[in-house]
Symmetry: D3
Subunit: 323 residues, 6 copies
């Protein structure tokens, strides 16, 4: 099948043209500080399941605006000492689902937290977290929800939720604050990059086929949604391209990557027409940390490495965090 984007050597050499706003760091510091100021309480309710090897908690923590955000926390029942933590963010349209769905991190000795996604959680797995904030006229989906102003943009809230999830968990006495990892595929990878870019407690980041990187190129290269939501928005709002791309600069994984020092395990799929490989390489190349690795899947589309990459991650993170 034809490759939908650059191939090597151009691919490896690609540098994103996304520019860094002068107030990028300040914008995010203010955003997170504001959420922390609003605060809120964390609740952890044991969940009723048939699972015997792990403990499961139904967690609610205060996200952006103090809004309650849900997640599942899964801990190995047999444990000693503080646990390393893996926080996973979820792909576009999905939610936290059920706690029995993903057990390999807990089964490998990690505390595992899967954060729900506000206002999504209906497309391919279920969630239970509303997004109580409205929007300008928009294309169905969240890509253009509030996109006319960086203060209103949906991802300002979601990325902040991602940081506040770490806040909620790092405060628990069974978590080792020196061994925090974030991960996720597609949108989840984009959130992981954002959190790793603004929160230096994060020591490892594992973005798989990450979305939300190099928007100007993604919008013009991806053959399928969700980048297409922005195309369709601009196809109608023909006079709004400048303001939209100005907003997106503040949410671009390339800019978050430029700020992160965590260890990083990226993956990319060369036939991916949802998150084109050059956008992933754009973020990878910009990534400021020195311990970074890219895993390539030449013949995959956006499904990427799937369980092959899970296995790779389990080994890579076990080497670094020794659970």
């Amino acid at each position: 099948m034809p490759f939908p984007d650059l191939v090597h050597p151009a691919l490896g050499a690609y540098e994103s043209a996304v520019t860094m706003p002068a107030d990028f760091a300040a914008f995010w510091q203010a955003t997170i500080a504001e959420a922390r100021t609003i605060g809120g309480t964390v609740s952890m309710v044991p969940a009723d399941t048939t699972l015997k090897l792990v403990e499961v908690f139904d967690v609610t923590f205060p996200g952006f605006g103090g809004h309650p955000v849900k997640g599942w926390l899964v801990l190995p029942k047999a444990r000693e000492g503080r646990l390393p933590l893996v926080v996973q963010y979820v792909g576009y349209g999905g939610g936290r689902g059920f706690p029995h769905e993903l057990l390999h991190w807990a089964a490998s000795g990690f505390a595992y937290f899967r954060m729900d996604t506000r206002g999504q959680g209906s497309g391919w797995s279920t969630g239970a977290t509303p997004d109580p904030v409205g929007s300008n006229g928009q294309i169905p989906g969240v890509m253009t929800k509030g996109v006319l102003d960086k203060q209103d943009y949906y991802y300002r809230r979601l990325f902040t939720d991602g940081v506040r999830a770490v806040d909620a968990l790092v405060a628990q006495d069974f978590i080792d604050p020196e061994r925090i990892a974030v991960c996720g595929g597609s949108q989840g990878g984009g959130i992981a990059l954002a959190v790793a870019g603004v929160d230096d407690r994060v020591k490892a980041v594992m973005p798989d086929v990450p979305f939300l990187c190099d928007f100007p190129r993604g919008v013009r290269t991806a053959g399928r949604d969700p980048y297409g939501e922005i195309v369709r928005y601009l196809a109608q709002h023909r006079d709004k391209a400048d303001v939209v791309f100005e907003t997106l600069r503040y949410f671009d994984g390339v800019n978050f990557a430029r700020q992160s020092r965590a260890a990083a395990l990226f993956s990319v799929a060369l036939m991916d027409d949802v998150c084109p490989p050059s956008t992933v390489y754009g973020a990878f190349r910009a990534f400021a940390g020195s311990d970074k690795t890219m895993v390539e899947y030449e013949f995959n589309n956006h499904e990427g490495g799937q369980t092959f990459q899970d296995r790779r991650q389990m080994v890579w993170l076990a080497e670094r965090f020794r659970p």
Copy 2:
């Protein structure tokens, strides 16, 4: 091409099984009363266009929650006395667009108002009206936005906007309050039915291939979106069907039709797989007014009668309102 739904004689004999909630009228009276209590101001700013035969005003009026809602008001420049009014609501995903787009009502001697649709206005025409209210997790689009509670459902706000548009215009001295018509295609037809069902100032209603009628059947019969949004939501939220259909009863065009006494000109397309013809006939048959006509387009899908139906409406309404 095969018909996607019932054909005659079963089609004409079809009666919707949608049930009327005991508190349906009360729910809507309370909703509209609450919006009127909140109130707000109406502004009408002359628009800068090249149009010389009509006057155009960029209108902002207070809708549900007092939220500002936009619309274009177009008046024939050559006029005398109070004008009959046609309010048009817009189909799914669209917005009010530009004032020069639809001039045939004003050119026929009517005051014409095209109401913007909150939070939409991006899919096939542009709008400028936000929906400042958030939502539970949902399928992209508005069909499941707030659907878990009738108080939160998106269409509670939009239908209320529809009534408040009439409030805003009927107060103007150039409008004849005895000659108010509402119309629209697809979603716009659904809104028109709702407004005609709760507001007896409306003397004529012209729903074309109306959407939002007979939800239980629409969801199980339509081959394409937007009814499919509800299917996809329930395909994930497998435990929410009862609560969803309970909410939808309060927004069903069949129930609004049961309450309306206006003169009515419906249209239906027999190959429509977006708004299946039985759902339209379900509303038509339930329609309580005695001056009602159905126009059928046997070989059309959801585009329905288009300009043929415009022409039909122009003649039909001119006979009744004598502009």
Copy 3:
């Protein structure tokens, strides 16, 4: 979404390789002279509509071969002096429709004429004009109708109709012969370019995402019909490519553009895979007039600028023709 064709800077620099036949001008002079010699009568019958601000005439004029061609003429009822004229040609498959469909030109003070398209008028709007001339074996559609000989090609008749429409209207005493504009989208834009290229009475031309430009490139670049009709024809008639492309040179918008001195407002959509943007730029760059402007819609496919472009045209033409 990926761009289907050249992007800037290559796009702006693109020069069409279409060659000009030595007898191009002579061919068209002879063709038009022949049609004028055959002649015929123009009839203008007032149409029965509800419209009060405009007068509508059902016009029949003699086109190519003296064949009767229909059109709607719409005049502002409130007018004084001679009116500037806008003639609009219709896109592929459509016809003149109903007179109430497009009123913005008349509402802006122009005489507006929408010419029917012979033998089409069935695909997305209705027409009432036959094409009484037969054809060689062909692909369904008109792209290969008579394509084996430039004398027989369908567009020889249709372009001639376009000039004869101007003939019919310029003779009316309510039209100002110094203020003639032609316009149209897609096929309509191609006809407009052709008429502007052979008739110097035309002072302004407004082709939107014009079709029928730079055939050799369009046939090899467009991802969808109608250029695909030619591809499918040549896929069967594997021995006819030379004769087909020889015919098409005489009908290529690039060659008409090389001959026109009118003021021009083009539009192009960069994601257009029906009329690839390089083919539009090929005509634009070749356009011989000095007052020429290109409006770009980066994120649109063949729908182009739609009502945004209408608004742009209304302002642009009002500045030049001062209705």
Copy 4:
């Protein structure tokens, strides 16, 4: 896969509701008489091929209006006495192609004639016969070409060509006029039925998955073109359904079948969504001859029996015509 139409026992019991015009026979007698009166000459030019076992002639004969129609005549080189004749008509969009394409009839001892299709011959095989007659506005294709008047309808010309082909061949001294068979698939089957219905020289007819039968049902049942051309026409020309179906009665295979006494070998495919099986059974059941057989292919779509049916035909016709 789901069946797109009736299944047994309803299928076998289906009777078409197509009505027979009182002047059906008179219309066709007049049409054919008129063509014979116009007359014209038949030419047979030996073709230059590498074929050694057969003789090939490039035939031109006068069809409807005396228009020249092409065909390939293939004769076994080793022959004695007069030959039985098989005339084949071609499916929608195709033409006579090359003479080497179909040799099994000549190789079995028949004179074989493949008639070209006027104005088609470009979609899946090539033809060389123009249709010199024009048309009203139409949908691309021939289904609505002239459909507003039975005198103008395209198939009036094509069916007449089919009879005139028999006229041309039966006059040759190497043909046995008592052993004339006609055949064809899809449109070719429809032509064969028409010819067998108006020309009693035809002693055997072999329609495979015939098209052009039971138009009212075909138009409302077929999932794909060409019946869809009529649907699309009526979807625009919303006021023309009555006149269109009135025309089609004169061209319906069901009515031709009611008039034919030839031996008949039909085939039908139960998953055919181009020529729905009930339309084929409608013609079969109406077929007036007593020696009639239906071959069913349960799991085929419109490809029908293909080479299985060829083999069946070869045996069936050999039994009757003993070449």
Copy 5:
């Protein structure tokens, strides 16, 4: 969306017309006896993973013909006494994948075995088990592999592997032979039904949206593959329908269901066009055991209940097997 098959009440009342061959039981007894006679050795090699809460073994056991078949065995590390066993079979095209993929059964205290699928394991997950037996000409896939003779049919080998997997595990001292369950989705559900139908050691069976049930109806009702493989085969091999359906009787889940006495938890999706709901109900209604439950998912296609059904199964089986 329209339902692709029967709905209630016809759905619940549907009885399959599949007939039981007189030698059905004998055929399967002989087949399994033959495989046991050939025998072979079972190997269990500890797998190298990061998983700490479970033990994983890479199992190879002798299947049909003694051919080596792979599987993953996962045991809770913290365990006491013999474990109840869950054997899962895999859906069409997939393989056993990696052991970390599905941990919820082991995490709930069960021994869990996921059997690889011979000759598949490439479409959506990977496998490592060849099918060393060849085939007649066939449609790509396994549905027609050897279908001309019940002795050669692919599923004779695969179903036998399913029984031999139970043989291999029941012999281990950590397994409780009184608590054996089998499960699987789609093809996996069909295998589970087959194993439960011939092996009375199986005390519980959990088929989700099972495939391979009621072939005659599935082939004529399903809108998508794999049933379509059989349709395409018969569309070419037009003379083989009888022999194919005769073979399939010996592999039909309806017939296996008639023989099973296990407790059963079925699931069905009413919008499933891969395994139409009537085929599932056909098997459910025929199921001979008295402790049987059907879980319905009204708005799902072939994905069925997914994690909702997992959760349901975990509770249902825990009640019966008390791990």
Copy 6:
């Protein structure tokens, strides 16, 4: 339509990067020698048809492993002396069909043999030849059947069958061993190239739009199957790309072309997205024979030249073999 691959001049200049294994010739010599050693008997049974100008034999010959392989042999009944032979191999998924399907070679004075394809013969024509050899887990189809080892790969058997067909026929006394040609389209063209590359009795080869050439490029360029089977295999078996491409080197038409000295008539279609034109040019350029011609079809997809190319072949081969 856009070209899916290189265009001229890059196309004509393209050189394949496929490398030749050092043991390529040895591998094939050993393979063929082994098959000849196993041997087997050839049977030729007169077939019962209605055909009178030709004789037809149902041939069974021993292929790879001595497995019986079928074919139709068609001879002109009127013949004298030994006949030149054309062996045709069949495209992907098809089989030998019926003998009456392709008669133009026999009708031109050649002995014509159409070889069946083991284990295929179900997709678009029927076959009667099993492939008695099994496979590792694979993608449906034959492209990955045994691909992990060159000894097991499906095409090792099929190409050997192709040589053994020549063995079977050249031994007949009515065949002239000095006039042997092989041909085929797509997969058939790939087989023809392979046979011509290992068997110097073949004096002419006519590959049309050949498949199985330049695998590394085909897999990365083709937009449709069957190359896509390999992509999907590698998308799951992410760790097997090296071994797969190592196997494929031994079956690459480019390498066979490097070894052939026959006269060659290639054809290529420039819009072919099944067998991309660069892969065909890769083989053509590598072809070692000096009498080689490429026929180009610019506007065709994988259907290529069809009957135009048949005609071309008939003339080209008649010039060389003078039947």
